[in-house]
């Protein structure tokens, strides 16, 4: 794929399938027919999810560490993801407090078996220092990273991870941002979501459904 700008190649890495559905690797055998099996690519489902949802963008944690989204945060982990911003007045303080409660219920499994990632919707203003103060104010414990980074990349992440509203006006309004939390087990391709204001013990229960291999995941 020549002549592609850096932005477009990032989009490609971000997991959008090849720009033309028939233009691309593996589909150039002129002997193949529409129905033949060799026109279909074999892609491992876990890899498919990585390509589609977890570009390896570089982010900065509230502890001012640089991390790569897939390699450092997502790969092999059981996690909870949400979006917030520090100057959010209505929803985020409550969701953050709720998640602090969840964190307490998880005890020392936080940071060992479970990881929380809160992405900032206002990366311009939410620098590492600002996020660090926010985390300290909420008494956030280890195992939970607040993340900032390039505004375009974070906006892209917001969209591909589904923290969007189909109404463009609502979607533009930071105050109406999506308050759900997404939880999942990357190795098992198990992903769910629930409101960020769900009862804390229910969020713990939801995490137990994807708690593998450490948890008592049956049928595993």
């Amino acid at each position: 794929m020549s002549n592609i700008s850096r932005r477009k190649s990032l989009a490609f890495l971000a997991g959008a399938p090849a720009a033309g559905w028939l233009v691309g690797k593996g589909l150039q055998s002129s002997a193949s027919t529409l129905a033949s099996e060799d026109r279909w690519k074999q892609v491992d489902p876990r890899e498919m999810i990585r390509q589609r949802y977890f570009p390896n963008v570089v982010l900065t944690t509230h502890e001012n560490k640089k991390v790569r989204l897939y390699d450092d945060l997502v790969k092999d982990k059981v996690m909870l993801i949400n979006f917030m911003y520090t100057s959010c007045e209505r929803l985020c303080p409550r969701v953050t407090q709720n998640l602090v409660h969840v964190q307490k219920l998880l005890g020392d499994r936080m940071g060992r078996d479970f990881f929380f990632y809160s992405f900032s919707l206002d990366p311009k203003n939410d620098t590492a220092k600002v996020l660090s103060d926010y985390a300290a104010m909420h008494k956030v414990g280890p195992g939970w990273s607040f993340l900032t980074g390039d505004p375009d990349e974070i906006e892209h992440l917001r969209r591909i991870l589904g923290f969007t509203d189909p109404d463009p006006e609502q979607d533009k309004d930071k105050d109406s941002h999506i308050g759900n939390v997404r939880y999942g087990n990357e190795r098992r391709q198990l992903w769910g979501a629930c409101p960020g204001m769900s009862q804390a013990d229910f969020i713990v229960e939801a995490l137990s459904w994807v708690d593998w291999p450490k948890g008592q995941k049956p049928g595993a």
């Binding site: 020549s2 959008a16 233009v23 150039q28 589609r52 969209r159 049956p218």
Partner: protein
């Protein structure tokens, strides 16, 4: 701007498509060729992934014509014959024999004893197994993995009889490796059986792979505990005919249903007999045909069914399946058929018309005889049927009105672009999406069913008695993308309200979610719509018993219930299964004493 290599590849691939028999015209119709003759660069399965180059905001979607945001590989229409569901057969016995208390030692995942086993001992036994299967949905897509009941997706259809209780042993052999989506801990719900709670498929009562779960289906009319109906074993006016079963596992329902865990269940009685020479004389046998509709997206590179895991709005597929195959053709004899339609979603609202591709302006009326599996007071002539997810309609179409050799399309003309609901536009004939093609073929065969135009009555509706009714209100809201009912969120541990066994209730459901439409489903009992926005329901087909109520924008609907016979926990929820999984639900229960909380 494509470069030379792209152009060459496009031309090569176009030649392949044409060699394979996909004409230029079909490619145009599929939206794959630009006017210059290049293959259109499809943007992938979710417009959200293309935020960088100015793709659409919000969730991916597509119009009723199948184009737009989603981009499955092209598939030919009407090349696969329609698949009739397999009829589920009972077994002589189950080993170990079913017990009232859960047989934990033998690996049963049930945790609550059967409350009515002694009162209604099972007369037939079934065993059904959930497992990974291989299926071909189209000759233009690879054979691929789904999850099915008894090796099929959709699974088999039960033929059950009122007064004949059955026990179904539900075996979970689903694999840990989900291939990209799905959760192998499951809870199977029979929608909308009058079923004891512990057998109803409550979302939180899921069980594990390697376990089984016995479901006791008493197949009794509602009201059997009421002395006034003792002689008839319940209120005949509460007869159900067409139910369906599907996975209902909390937070993973959409993934599991999309993966194939759905099937049908028919209930017969002395009127709806299954024999068109008796009772109401409805078309029967091979002329009584369950049809389960669903829409899906397939990955353009791998050809495999794709489920957008990070979509919370609602998923719209651009490939349309009936009984598990894409746009089949169905050869029908020139006589009446009873078609039992179920919209299994995941999210799309449909409105089906009959379309003659050679005469688009022609309109073909037919009869709707049941709503949500409940026979109407009498047949209603219609020219279309609208179904939100989980709604059912039984229709009678008389194919003798067409010429042998004629083909008629079953076309969805309701335009929808995202998970919020249809736009309200009903597209012109031929502009929608056809789910299947009926091909009327000879020979003519005997038709012993009665012409629905001459049927004057099925059942009366049960009386609506508001004298002692408990009134409750449910306000469906969306705040910051989180679904709430009366400002609260759902979870497994919260019982929102308790209904007193044997009572009547009047619920007002209000849609305050802004631009969203929701098909709301309440388990266990059928309801009647008393009013829609203050007036009796405008549509004749809605003057019936139902179990899924459509909540349009900013609507307020009042529904009347009787709650009888069994006890335990049940849910109410939006049946756009993607909304359901993001907790648009409330869990309630029936007990000997209830509460009267008006805003639970």
């Amino acid at each position: 701007m494509p470069n030379k290599k792209d152009i060459d590849n496009a031309r090569k691939n176009r030649l392949e498509l044409i060699a394979a028999g996909v004409t230029r015209r079909e490619l145009f119709k599929m939206g794959l060729l630009t006017s210059a003759g290049y293959l259109v660069a499809k943007k992938g399965l979710s417009s959200r992934a293309w935020g960088f180059d100015g793709g659409k905001g919000g969730g991916g979607g597509n119009d009723g014509g199948g184009g737009g945001g989603a981009a499955s590989p092209p598939t030919r229409s009407f090349v696969t014959p329609f698949r009739n569901l397999t009829v589920k057969q009972p077994v002589a016995s189950l080993n170990p024999a079913p017990t009232i208390a859960p047989n934990t030692a033998a690996g049963e995942g049930r945790t609550i004893a059967h409350q009515a086993f002694t009162k209604f001992p099972p007369q037939k036994f079934y065993q059904i197994t959930q497992s990974q299967i291989s299926a071909t949905v189209s000759p233009d897509l690879p054979t691929q993995t789904f999850w099915g009941f008894d090796g099929e997706a959709p699974g088999p259809v039960y033929h059950a009889k009122y007064g004949e209780p059955i026990l179904v042993r539900n075996v979970n052999n689903l694999p840990a490796n989900n291939g990209g989506f799905g959760n192998n801990t499951v809870s199977t719900h029979l929608h909308n059986g009058h079923t004891p709670s512990e057998s109803d498929g409550f979302p939180c009562f899921f069980f594990n792979s390697g376990q089984f779960y016995d479901h006791h289906y008493p197949n009794q009319l509602a009201g059997f505990s009421d002395p006034q109906f003792a002689a008839t074993g319940g209120d005949i006016r509460e007869s159900l005919s067409t139910l369906f079963y599907h996975d209902h596992r909390i937070d993973f329902t959409a993934q599991n249903v999309y993966k194939g865990l759905v099937g049908q269940y028919l209930l017969f009685n002395q009127f709806d007999t299954g024999d068109e020479t008796t009772g109401f004389r409805l078309p029967s046998g091979q002329f009584d045909v369950p049809m389960i509709f669903g829409d899906k997206v397939f990955d353009p590179n791998t050809g495999l069914a794709f489920f957008d895991l990070f979509n919370t709005d609602g998923i719209l597929g651009d490939r349309f399946l009936v009984n598990g195959t894409i746009q089949p053709f169905f050869q029908v004899a020139p006589r009446r058929y009873r078609l039992r339609w179920t919209n299994s979603g995941p999210s799309r609202w449909v409105q089906f018309f009959l379309t003659d591709p050679n005469n688009l302006s022609a309109s073909f009326p037919f009869f709707q005889i049941a709503n949500d599996g409940n026979l109407l007071p009498k047949p209603v002539q219609v020219t279309s049927v609208e179904l939100g997810v989980a709604e059912r309609a039984d229709v009678i179409i008389d194919f003798s009105k067409f010429r042998p050799g004629q083909s008629i399309l079953l076309e969805n003309r309701l335009e929808q672009q995202d998970g919020r609901g249809p736009t309200g536009n009903v597209l012109a004939a031929g502009q929608g999406s056809s789910y299947l093609r009926f091909d009327v073929v000879l020979p003519a065969v005997a038709d012993n069913s009665q012409d629905p135009a001459t049927i004057t009555k099925f059942y009366d509706l049960p009386t609506i008695d508001l004298s002692n009714v408990v009134r409750r209100s449910f306000n469906f809201q969306r705040g910051n993308g989180q679904w709430q009912i009366n400002g609260k969120f759902a979870d497994c541990n919260t019982n929102r309200f308790t209904v007193k066994q044997g009572s009547t209730e009047l619920w007002t459901l209000t849609n305050s979610s802004g631009g969203w439409m929701h098909p709301i489903h309440i388990h266990f009992e059928e309801h009647q719509i008393v009013s829609r926005n203050g007036a009796p329901p405008p549509l004749a087909v809605e003057r019936s018993r139902k179990d899924v109520v459509e909540l349009h924008h900013n609507e307020s609907v009042q529904i009347f219930f009787r709650f009888r016979d069994f006890l335990g926990r049940y849910p109410l929820h939006c049946h756009n299964v993607v909304h359901e999984d993001h907790a648009m639900m409330a869990l309630w229960s029936i007990a000997p004493t209830g509460d009267t909380n008006p805003n639970p």
